[in-house]
Symmetry: none
Subunit: 283 residues, 2 copies
């Protein structure tokens, strides 16, 4: 794995895991610092699985064996988490407190996204965008809003971006794409059928595909040329979290800034034009 935090990698690969592996992942996530001092058998017992399964789990996440797993794990634990005594869980009853909790959640998700981001992938993505004849942003549900946001943003500096709202039309559009076209598929889970379908069609049509998703390995990533992973402070189960959406926006913004930087002159020109177009809509 690329990331230097093993615990994070485990989250990323989570939906690739089998039931048994998930049990282990859950226990490890919950008791990371305890696991450091457990043998493979201890851990297996704690999870009610066989030693062999724990070993397999280690291999699944890319380690050579249990020992390497433990060492990598220990390195991904920050000194704070090391302390045994549990931090007194603050009551999130009060409204101000709740605001702070939510805020901190966002920040950690954004930082996670930053950490997970593969600079090379960003670089390549922007190059593909520059080379592309047409760029499409696709998504469903909340991710569709991100897709529309991306289109809105890029529309300020280039008119080769599109966003199609209706899933059927997305598929039709994808079927007509060619190797000159670039398709972004935004999907938090990477498992939404409609998205996968569009990805499949687009791939058949020969278009380039970039996925923006939480999970490095998901049905979606089978069809992507590049995958940009976004963080979120939650497991794969919960949907519609704001932090996931913010992470998507962050990635889009990065692509935008880099695209702008590389095409300053044209971008600035277009930006002025589009700004003027809406000025008279303001008081």
């Amino acid at each position: 794995m690329s990331s230097y935090s093993l615990l994070l990698d485990i989250q990323l690969l989570y939906n690739q895991f089998t039931k048994t592996e998930k049990k282990i992942a859950d226990y490890v996530a919950e008791n990371a610092n305890r696991v450091l001092f457990m043998s493979i058998t201890d851990l297996a017992d704690a999870c009610n699985v066989a030693d062999a399964s724990v070993h397999r789990f280690c291999r699944t996440i890319g380690m050579k064996g249990y020992q390497e797993f433990k060492m990598k794990l220990s390195l991904s634990i920050t000194p704070d988490e090391t302390q045994e005594g549990e931090a007194p869980k603050e009551e999130s009853d009060s409204l101000p407190n709740m605001l702070d909790c939510i805020l901190e959640g966002y920040i950690s998700a954004l930082r996670e996204t930053r950490m997970l981001l593969d600079i090379d992938a960003v670089d390549k993505t922007v190059s593909m965008m520059e080379a592309a004849g047409n760029i499409y942003f696709f998504g469903i549900g909340d991710s569709l809003l991100a897709a529309q946001g991306a289109r809105n943003k890029f529309l300020k500096i280039t008119n080769k971006v599109n966003c199609i709202v209706d899933p059927h039309m997305q598929a039709m559009s994808a079927s007509m794409a060619d190797s000159n076209d670039l398709i972004f598929i935004i999907s938090y889970s990477g498992s939404t059928k409609d998205n996968i379908y569009v990805a499949k069609i687009a791939r058949q049509a020969g278009a380039k595909i970039v996925g923006i998703t939480r999970f490095l390995k998901s049905p979606l990533t089978n069809y992507t040329d590049i995958t940009l992973t976004c963080g979120a402070n939650e497991g794969p189960l919960e949907g519609g979290s704001m932090s996931a959406k913010m992470s998507q926006l962050y990635i889009i913004d990065i692509l935008f800034q880099e695209y702008y930087r590389r095409n300053q002159t044209v971008s600035r020109e277009n930006n002025e034009k589009t700004s003027k177009a809406v000025v008279e809509k303001l008081y």
Copy 2:
């Protein structure tokens, strides 16, 4: 040992060590992060001593055995020391640097939003939402996406929320609202003509109005019962900045969480129903 840094403890005990133990201590001090991935035999070989001596060394410094020694060692190594290769000093306009700048911008905008938020206003807004017969989220451009996002989010727990995309339809809808209805108008600038128009109509119709905007005083706030202000760090490339959008999402999330909290039973029930409705859309 009392100290939390094993490497330090080893230094402290150094004089008490035997010749062989000193050899081991020297090697460990010099190659701490390499040792993490060595077996007791590897380490013994590297120091030209017997396995048993390494084990004795571990006992001497107060560990139960070699494994515990390695774990304690790993915990006393800071993540920085972990990296083998030297980090090449990045030029200021490099891509990684840009990512960090953008990220910090978001964080400061979100914190600003947190600071600006009036707890009372949030409290009152949620109360109004509970009391309302219908809730509408209106916006234009990027703020329309936020409005749709809000509708999507609340739709998981209540079906009295609406979002109308077309500005003309928004106006028509507003004209039919009554004092039982609550209208959210999301507008970064608070100066968008279409938004103001809708606000004016809604106010005439007698509906309650909550504004989500950057500016406490703007044409919009003339018509609002409550104004929720969001922060944003205006960068050079302005117009539809992401941090503004994130701040809007933050405010929406807060309203959602508080609404959910006050109506737990119903919310949870509805949430389950709506979640089930989309489950089969996933692989």
